[in-house]
């Protein structure tokens, strides 16, 4: 196993308490930053580290911080995005549940860098029990002088609040999150203006994912340059991967960016291979929004190079033969999986979660779900497949927020790589009557089917 920067002490009994966390070297980054560094130096270290946003888009965190409008007279805010709702992603939950002080520590150090006097953790409503865990950790931090007035005797003061949402995926989109935090309906805002200029309460705001903020702790402790040594190219540091699906050991793994995908799936250090040793069929590598890839393209790129767990390698080949690292929700499927059923399930999710503000997403997501439902239940016709591709194309890029894209990409990619399977559903409605059809008889391509019959 590679270096563990975030989860190193996760197995330590009592690590969720301040006392144990502190004993294990916790809050050192706050001491270092507040006592020996200026806010700009902290930002600079984050820039040097090459840390990229772990929420999905992979935008360089240091750059985002440096965009914050520091000239504005208004207060500045750091908001932690703990809305984690992407199907297949559960890393933030693990981190907050097991080692809540790491996030609190990152929030304090980050807020200091940005000059925020009040900061928020916006957490999804379904994580209600974690709200309690975080609030307890925050109370402990206040009691020990790491939050509140004059932290560690310096003139820096910070208040930190946890704010639960009401259970909407869309409130993970940063501007919808800010609306919701302000107490409004969680509709994404039109951009520009970006949050760095006009975010929470129209003030300069940085929104970062839980893991991004947690990663600030080792970056400040060891220095940005040290952090940047881990990983490959522009994919520096470690990343939490939520592994799920047909694998022997599902769970959250901290990997050094650059681990080969093959090693990640089959090595005993990570997923431990396929659950029942059946062949690998497909992988959704970065949460439900990213394109699905068939076995051959996930292990190797179209050029025949080994595919690595990095931002660049996973997106090699663009959307034709590549995917994205996204939020690190790694869903593995063996040959008993029905791609159509899987896609229908994703489509149902996006239909349910669209905020309904803009027409292509509001109407298109429902349309795609209904067509997929028909195909999966044996009522599809051949024209439906191209229709789906066309509807996805008309949503993509034409919406207010990226949820529209997130709904369109899985459809486009599943049909691109598994068209035959969609056609099979249309042609043989009898064979797919049982919802577990491929568990009984895995899908064979048309040519093979002819040989069998």
């Amino acid at each position: 196993m590679g270096r563990q920067l975030l989860l190193e002490h996760i197995a330590e009994p009592g690590i969720e308490t301040f006392a144990v966390y502190r004993k294990k070297g916790g809050y050192a980054s706050v001491e270092k930053a507040l006592k020996t560094m200026t806010p700009d130096q902290v930002t600079e270290e984050v820039k040097i580290s090459g840390l990229r946003g772990r929420g999905g888009a992979g935008f360089p965190a240091g750059m985002k911080w440096s965009f914050l409008d520091r000239k504005s007279e208004k207060p500045r805010y750091l908001v932690c995005n703990a809305d984690e709702s992407e199907p297949g992603t559960f890393k933030d939950r693990y981190l907050m549940e097991k080692i809540p002080h790491l996030l609190i520590e990152g929030m304090i150090t980050g807020s200091y860098a940005l000059g925020a006097k009040t900061s928020y953790i916006y957490i999804r409503g379904e994580y209600m029990y974690i709200v309690g865990i975080l609030e307890k950790a925050i109370d402990e931090a206040y009691a020990n002088g790491f939050l509140g007035k004059n932290i560690l005797g310096t003139d820096y003061s910070l208040d930190l609040y946890v704010h639960p949402g009401a259970g909407a995926y869309i409130c993970g989109e940063e501007t919808a999150l800010l609306e919701s935090l302000e107490g409004k309906r969680g509709n994404p805002r039109l951009k520009p203006p970006f949050p760095a200029v006009s975010g929470l309460y129209a003030s300069p705001t940085v929104v970062n994912n839980v893991e991004t903020i947690a990663a600030v702790v080792p970056i400040i402790n060891n220095g940005g340059a040290e952090y940047a040594k881990i990983g490959i190219g522009k994919s520096t540091g470690t990343k939490l991967i939520s592994a799920s699906g047909h694998i022997k050991k599902p769970g959250v793994y901290e990997i050094e960016l650059g681990v080969p995908v093959e090693e990640f799936i089959y090595s005993d250090q990570y997923c431990g291979g396929m659950l029942t040793n059946r062949p690998l069929k497909a992988v959704v590598a970065g949460g439900s929004s990213v394109p699905i890839l068939p076995a051959d393209l996930i292990l190797k790129t179209a050029k025949g190079e080994k595919r690595l767990m990095t931002y660049e390698s996973l997106s090699d080949g663009g959307f034709v033969s590549g995917s994205m690292l996204g939020s690190g929700g790694f869903i593995v499927m063996d040959d008993t999986t029905c791609i159509v059923r899987n896609l229908w399930s994703f489509a149902r999710f996006y239909h349910h979660e669209s905020c309904g503000q803009c027409s292509p997403c509001r109407e298109g997501t429902g349309w795609m779900e209904k067509v997929l439902h028909r195909i999966e239940h044996g009522h599809g016709h051949m024209g439906d497949i191209d229709l789906l591709v066309d509807v996805a194309k008309k949503i993509e890029g034409n919406t207010i927020c990226p949820l529209g894209d997130a709904a369109a990409w899985p459809v486009a990619s599943a049909i691109r790589h598994f068209r035959e399977e969609f056609e099979y559903h249309v042609k043989y409605p009898e064979k797919i009557k049982n919802p577990k059809h491929f568990a009984i008889e895995p899908f064979l391509s048309e040519k093979k089917l002819e040989l069998v019959n």
Binding site: I170, S354, C358, R362, K370, N398
Partner: protein, 334 residues
């Protein structure tokens, strides 16, 4: 000031002008359609996506094109920007898609809808939509509800442009009106069936681009193209008192605010003028109103059409079906 070029026509506009408003200053066929933007309602726009255009050159300083189509109603011009509307096949294709999306859950009950003939969605579908639907699924349905005693809401017809909620927010005193639920289950609603009763609430009827909000005092009285619009005014203490009277013979069937060529009301009127003065004697008539838009009533009662124009229009629609870029429409009535 900023110089922009839209479909090859250059214009200079003040900084901070949106692409849509710059195009409106040029006028003509290159003005993108708009279903949710409404000049006088703060925060409107950006939602329906029919106004998408291509920015082929960002600005003089940074000539790179913008990676995606942008909503012209909520994107400001930059000096040296080059915009393509009708000249971009990509825009026409995307717009055709948006129109299709707006229509899949629409009941298409124009034959019994009071808005028919002056409906922005009809006009939009006519200009930019396809003749046939590809949608075979069930359409979403809602019960009709009363918003106060004067307004009927047909949620099935709503395109969720949010304009009416902004009227409620910005023109009326207490907000009792908003959007509930999510996605295609979203619906316009008065908060827990609370009646909307304040002086300017009737304006939500006029801002509604479709027949989702209709005037109960006018419902089913007449097709709009059988009525005769007259500009008229009265002395009103609450509003400007400048209205349009929709007449059938000597009877005032409906009173509405005056809309400009883009379907926008510039001076909102009060509920008293709208609902309580349905006799001609209450008004000073200024003269017949010319409706300057491409709707059925704009044809001013089916003016003569010559056959060659009609043939051209049919050809245009056929080309459009094939997905080819279409030349600008010509109005049928000459």
């Amino acid at each position: 000031m900023a110089k922009v070029t839209i479909d090859g026509v250059e214009i200079e506009v003040p900084d901070g002008t949106t692409i849509l408003n710059a195009a409106r200053q040029i006028g003509g066929a290159s003005v993108p359609p708009a279903m949710c933007y409404y000049s006088s309602l703060k925060g409107s726009g950006g939602k329906c996506r029919v106004c998408l255009v291509k920015v082929a050159q960002g600005s003089a300083k940074d000539p790179r094109p913008m990676p995606k189509l942008v909503a012209s109603c909520s994107t400001n011009v930059m000096d040296g920007m080059v915009v393509q509307n009708l000249t971009s096949p990509e825009v026409l294709e995307a717009r055709k898609g948006v129109v299709e999306f707006l229509l899949i859950n629409h009941p298409l009950d124009c034959p019994v809808c009071d808005q028919a003939g002056e409906c922005d969605l009809q006009n939009l579908a006519y200009e930019h939509g396809a003749a046939k639907t590809r949608y075979e699924e069930d359409r979403r349905t809602f019960e009709k509800i009363d918003i106060g005693d004067k307004i009927k809401l047909h949620m099935t017809r709503c395109i969720l442009c949010y304009r009416c909620t902004m009227v409620a927010d910005q023109l009326t005193e207490k907000r009792v009106h908003g959007v509930m639920n999510r996605g295609d289950a979203s619906e316009i609603s008065t908060y827990i069936s609370k009646a909307v009763d304040n002086d300017f609430s009737g304006n939500m009827i006029d801002v509604c681009p479709v027949g989702a909000l209709t005037d109960k005092t006018f419902r089913f009285k007449s097709r709009v193209w059988f009525t005769k619009p007259l500009d008229a005014h009265r002395n009103c203490t609450k509003c400007s008192g400048k209205v349009v009277l929709w007449m059938k013979d000597d009877e005032v069937l409906r009173v509405s605010a005056r809309k400009d060529q883009y379907g926008e009301v510039k001076e909102f009127i009060c509920n008293e003028c709208r609902y309580d003065h349905k006799t001609l004697a209450d008004w000073t008539v200024e003269g017949p109103r010319h409706i300057d838009r491409s709707s059925v009533i704009a044809q001013n009662h089916y003016e003569k059409i010559d056959l060659s124009t009609l043939k051209k229009e049919i050809d245009r629609q056929i080309e459009f079906q094939k997905g080819k870029p279409v030349p600008a429409p010509k109005t049928l009535a000459q």
